[in-house]
Symmetry: C2
Subunit: 364 residues, 2 copies
Amino acid sequence: MMTITVDLDTRSYPIYIGSGLLGQVGLLDPHIAGRNVLAVTNSTVAPLYLDRLLALLRPPARSGRVETLVLPDGESHKTMATAGAILDALVGQRYGRDCVVLALGGGVVGDVTGFAAAIYQRGVDFIQVPTTLLAQVDSSVGGKTGINHPGGKNLVGAFHQPLCVLSDSDTLRTLPDRELAAGLAEVLKGALIADAGFFGWIEAHAADLVGRQSAALNHAIRRSCEIKAEVVAGDERERGRRALLNLGHTFGHAIELCAGYGQWLHGEAVGAGIGMAARFSARLGWLPAADVARIQTLLERLQLPLRPPQVDAEAFLAAMAMDKKVLAGQLRLVLLPAIGNGRVTAEFPLRELQAFVRAELGTQ
Amino acid sequence: MMTITVDLDTRSYPIYIGSGLLGQVGLLDPHIAGRNVLAVTNSTVAPLYLDRLLALLRPPARSGRVETLVLPDGESHKTMATAGAILDALVGQRYGRDCVVLALGGGVVGDVTGFAAAIYQRGVDFIQVPTTLLAQVDSSVGGKTGINHPGGKNLVGAFHQPLCVLSDSDTLRTLPDRELAAGLAEVLKGALIADAGFFGWIEAHAADLVGRQSAALNHAIRRSCEIKAEVVAGDERERGRRALLNLGHTFGHAIELCAGYGQWLHGEAVGAGIGMAARFSARLGWLPAADVARIQTLLERLQLPLRPPQVDAEAFLAAMAMDKKVLAGQLRLVLLPAIGNGRVTAEFPLRELQAFVRAELGTQ
């Protein structure tokens, strides 16, 4: 087992990473001793891993009461209504401020459960047990919680750091191929913004990752968490540097919106968004063509899309402007001066971006 | 105008207190320059003060767009649905992370608007313009925001400090008598837990306060805010000392619950709760009978109830145990070793408390 510490002063917390952690009795005891726990999961994950998790929570672990709540699966349930169901369960059990809310599942379960924990009694403790690669390398780290609003994704939420994160890479054995690839897009993102050496490692181990080789997955999870933890520690509330983590995301959100939510997985859209960010960086003269080619080759080997779907270019541009990162009025993108070096910037001509998007979408 | 600073490190903020502040053009400019503002108020306050507020926000103030949202009045609207209506307005206006949400009104408007600001895009800036004495001396200070849940009051919320608070005591001229008295209960509470000299000042100026004499009100608001700010600065998230501010509140919440919400104003219930806390302190031998008499006399002069309504004692005890401050399992109360000295304690026999409540309610 590896342990990474996310360094956030009084809100610092450990991420436990490894194989077989859900079988490691005693691992959560320091966090739950004597406390009431609500374990929240979804209908897909519950039959796979809930029993193993409960074995970590129930005797001989000396927690208080342990209750479970199984949500329906899917992004369409990342809503205030679902957060309300978790709050109802907490109130219904009369759980107090010292309870612990635990999320077992992917990004949706983690985000909505974390949000409910953030607002129940103005904040109760929260443990993440992510079971998708995307959640293990990205959404479980950094304290962003939230739900979708009909007007946009993640428009409502809170910053709420967990007590700890337990990432058992064995849970990835049951992950559908598309979801594995979607997680690898975020792994690639971390390398591109911050670590050229890690990018090279991914190139060398792409087949191991796609083949779910444990040691490779554990290393990828660890290094991704380290990169994200380092960025988050310097900018918990995204006033500046944390925005680097949005590489591929402004394009990606537009893809998700234009393709219709649920058609593309978030990570798939981020993959194509990374491709777009690389090509736009090259168009601006920032990134050599050879590096774009390396990125595109790696996207392909990770079984990720390189390009956006053929949607209407004007709708795509409008969707980019709706992204909450630009709602303030200025369109910032994360671009790549080099592999391993991301930069948040508004320093590009808007007309260049428009022409680029139209060219990508085959309308110019 | 007096300015008090609530000292919370990077979240420190000023409270502006005085008469005629809503006519002081320019006062809010430093906080809203160039930013989109959503001003939230209710149907009672809007016809009285919204125009004056808008004059502070619109040209020559150089804010961005200014939109308004008028909520229905009343505690029954302190709900997730109302918070949702504020979020819908923010999304509908496409307001970004740099917007400012402003609450004009009493505690309900402030709490629900502050909560919406806390969770919109994981937290946007927030200005309080309290127009009731209760909000000016208590709920607008300290960053507690929240809504009610069918299972209990304020069970859902967030800590979210405002950018600034603007308390214009002239708004108290239109406040109903009962609401003025309710606010005075919180003024009295502050004196009892922390400042015997201020208690003496209230005794000397009770008639001025009830008569809405401006200088007296301004002093009472200032001193109450100072006391609360000092307590909050030492314990923002209520791990310890901040619980002092709950003097009269565990009894008070039980009164509100047993009388039926809406029958007693919160501050009225706190007034009677203070009376109960004083008498229970005396029963335990902590507080001299003469001090209980002083407190009761002052409650009367402030036109506050001294005693709970005659409800069922067992229901009352059950309601006390439901208070979220004791949901964790241990019943803590704020008791008075002396006037000006509150203490958070669980060091009393539960049987004494039960006997006391039964005696108060005339069933023993």
